[in-house]
């Protein structure tokens, strides 16, 4: 147990350089703005004196190193800058919009896993069968799908043609008012409020964006499950288990699947990266009020602080998610907890 704890501790320390790297890169990006950042933040009609004052305020007249430490210290205090269009602190706005994105991403991950894992396992246990071909087609097609295209296509079919889904505009039909905020995830908050109609309305809005994103990340999960399962199925211990007369289901699930899932867990890090990136596009397509559409709105208005805050927040979130995946891996790998290296 102490060994496991020590390993988890080492993982935590290992994430620090990445976190540093993320901060350094976003710092470089904030200073790479075209033209003079001071003139930009002072506004179009500012006089030379006002520009100089802003330059001093922002510390742009200091050395690069000092600027960096000021920037990092500001981040530690939660200072991500202020949005020019709304006048609100960027961090506050990001935090208030994050639950919408998280709800969509988590649901999409759940959906993708519940389809991709069985599909990958079935493809691996029957190589060359129609299900294997289907898996192959889905994994190649899945990575070729532009998410904005699938999103629009799904909207057209399920909203315009069939009328099964609500209009692809936002998290909730305007006739409903959002549940009182506990977690910020409408599905959970609606349950807490005991409002079934509200839950159903929120769920209906979620279906299409979630489906769009799940289709996109299904491919890497299914591909990895299949490859990993194939490898485990051809290993010696599975052959021994089979030769000992264990039932095929026991061999497949208790012996093969449990071991095959380990590499799949490590790919989850990559999958999270895909999802955080594509969530920007999916949010734009469905008018979803998450952090991604916040960044796009700011981009359209040439308001840079929110965009930079968004890039930084996503970088930090991604490092933390990878850390979580690493820790999870350390905890579930039987070779580590049993003390065999």
């Amino acid at each position: 147990m102490t060994r496991t704890l020590a390993l988890v501790g080492r993982r935590l320390l290992g994430a620090l350089p990445n976190l540093m790297g993320v901060v350094i890169i976003t710092f470089i990006l904030t200073r790479a703005l075209p033209g003079d950042p001071a003139a930009y933040f002072a506004g179009g009609a500012a006089t030379q004196g006002a520009v100089d004052q802003v330059r001093q305020q922002l510390g742009l007249d200091k050395s690069w190193l000092e600027q960096f430490f000021r920037y990092a210290a500001g981040l530690l205090r939660g200072d991500f800058g202020t949005s020019l269009t709304t006048g609100q602190p960027v961090l506050q706005e990001l935090v208030s919009r994050l639950p919408a994105s998280i709800e969509m991403v988590l649901l999409a991950l759940l959906l993708a896993c519940s389809v991709a894992l069985p599909l990958g396992v079935m493809a691996a246990t029957r190589p060359g069968s129609w299900i294997d071909q289907l898996c192959r087609l889905l994994t190649t097609a899945g990575v070729s799908l532009p998410t904005f295209f699938t999103g629009l296509l799904l909207s057209y079919v399920f909203y315009f043609l069939l009328g099964w889904a609500p209009a692809p505009l936002g998290r909730l039909d305007p006739v409903f008012s959002p549940p009182s905020q506990v977690t910020g995830l409408y599905l959970i908050d609606a349950v807490l409020a005991g409002d079934a109609a509200l839950w159903w309305a929120a769920f209906k809005q979620l279906i299409l964006p979630t489906l769009t994103m799940a289709l996109f990340v299904l491919a890497p999960i299914a591909r990895m499950t299949r490859a990993s399962m194939l490898q485990v199925l051809s290993s010696d211990f599975v052959r021994t288990a089979r030769a000992s007369g264990l039932s095929p289901t026991t061999v497949r699930v208790r012996y093969a699947l449990r071991n095959a899932l380990l590499p799949v867990v490590t790919t989850l890090g990559m999958v999270f990266g895909f999802m955080l990136g594509s969530s920007v596009i999916v949010e734009k397509v469905f008018g979803w009020p998450g952090v991604g559409s916040y960044a796009i709105d700011a981009l359209t208005a040439s308001d840079y602080a929110p965009v930079q805050g968004f890039v930084l927040a996503m970088g930090v979130l991604f490092v933390l998610l990878n850390l979580l995946v690493d820790v999870l891996y350390t905890l579930i790998d039987p070779r580590i907890s049993l003390g065999a290296d």
């Binding site: 350089p17 990445n18 976190l19 790297g21 993320v22 350094i24 890169i25 976003t26 990006l29 904030t30 790479a32 703005l33 075209p34 190649t140 097609a141 990575v143 070729s144 799908l145 532009p146 998410t147 904005f148 295209f149 629009l152 296509l153 909207s155 057209y156 909203y159 315009f160 209009a167 692809p168 591909r223 299949r226 490859a227 194939l230 999270f272 990266g273 895909f274 999802m275 955080l276 990136g277 594509s278 920007v280 596009i281 734009k284 397509v285 960044a295 796009i296 981009l299 359209t300 840079y304 965009v307 930079q308 968004f310 890039v311 996503m314 970088g315 991604f318 490092v319 990878n322």
Partner: protein, 286 residues
């Protein structure tokens, strides 16, 4: 001997192409896209920028194969003309990250030491971001131009090439043929260029073909959210974005055709990448 090897390779290529008919289809599609990129502007029926308000938002017909958009521009012409820009962005981005990534990875794997640490650290830091988000940040910061789209796409692809080159160089650094070359007085630079580079070329080329589709998707995604290429320039991502508002009112063709062509292009690149991997490394087939 070389003749024998060449015919052996040719046979293998023929085998891969004929064994799986899908590969042949992908190769033909690839050829079609290359031809479109080269000759697209000369073969399209209409001027991709000419509007005709009398013929706005018309569904596909014999006159307009893919229909017309909200100001009456011919979508077929716009989609075909866009091929050159989209492929151009992807090819330049991948070429840039190939050249830079291979050079950095070769040096890191061969010399080791602090150089290796620095290169690995930088590429790990790039990978610490969700890559599309990093690309967004780069274009937003450096300025909204096509050149910066290329640069951003090249930067987010860089780590893959660095890793391939570094790993492949590392295992060969002390191989017999490298030692022999060193003992016979070759300089480090010459060993890297003449003896090691050809060895890492096959896996690097596979990486190129797998990256191309992704680079196209990435560039189109950036323009879809309003970065890089600007309207009215025809580009697949923008064309889809222009039609997005008409989806809910039923004018599906405005987005559908550019999106479908984009998907087809990425799909054929990905299939071809898989085939190329089979040609270079039959063992890695999954």
């Amino acid at each position: 001997m070389t003749g024998f090897l060449a015919s052996e390779t040719a046979r293998h290529i023929r085998h891969v192409l004929t064994e799986n008919p899908v590969t042949l289809v992908a190769a033909s599609l690839f050829l079609m896209f290359v031809l479109l990129a080269l000759f697209g502007p000369w073969i399209v029926p209409y001027d991709p920028l000419a509007s005709d308000s009398a013929a706005a938002l018309q569904p596909p017909s014999w006159q307009h194969g893919f229909g017309t958009d909200s100001i009456g521009r011919d979508i077929l012409s716009r989609t075909l003309v866009a091929t050159r820009l989209d492929l151009g962005i992807a090819v330049s981005a991948v070429a840039l990250s190939f050249a830079l990534g291979i050079a950095l990875g070769l040096a890191a794997g061969y010399f080791g030491g602090w150089w290796d640490t620095a290169v690995t650290r930088v590429s790990d830091t790039i990978m610490a971001f969700p890559l599309f988000v990093l690309a967004m940040g780069i274009v937003a910061s450096l300025g909204n131009t096509v050149g910066n789209i290329v640069l951003a796409t090249a930067i987010i692809n860089l780590p893959f090439y660095v890793r391939v080159a570094r790993a492949e160089t590392n295992v060969r650094r002390n191989a017999g043929f490298v030692e022999a070359a060193r003992l016979s007085g070759n300089s480090d630079l010459r060993i890297l260029a003449v003896h090691l580079f050809p060895n890492i070329l096959p896996p690097a080329l596979v990486q190129v073909s797998l990256n191309m589709g992704w680079a196209i998707l990435n560039a189109a995604g950036l323009s879809f959210i309003g970065l890089g290429v600007r309207p009215p320039t025809p580009e697949w991502g923008i064309l889809v974005a222009e039609g997005a508002q008409f989806i809910v009112s039923g004018e599906w063709w405005v987005s559908f055709f550019p999106g479908a062509v984009l998907m087809l292009a990425v799909f054929s690149f990905n299939l071809l990448g898989d085939a190329l991997r089979d040609i270079f490394d039959p063992r890695k087939r999954t």
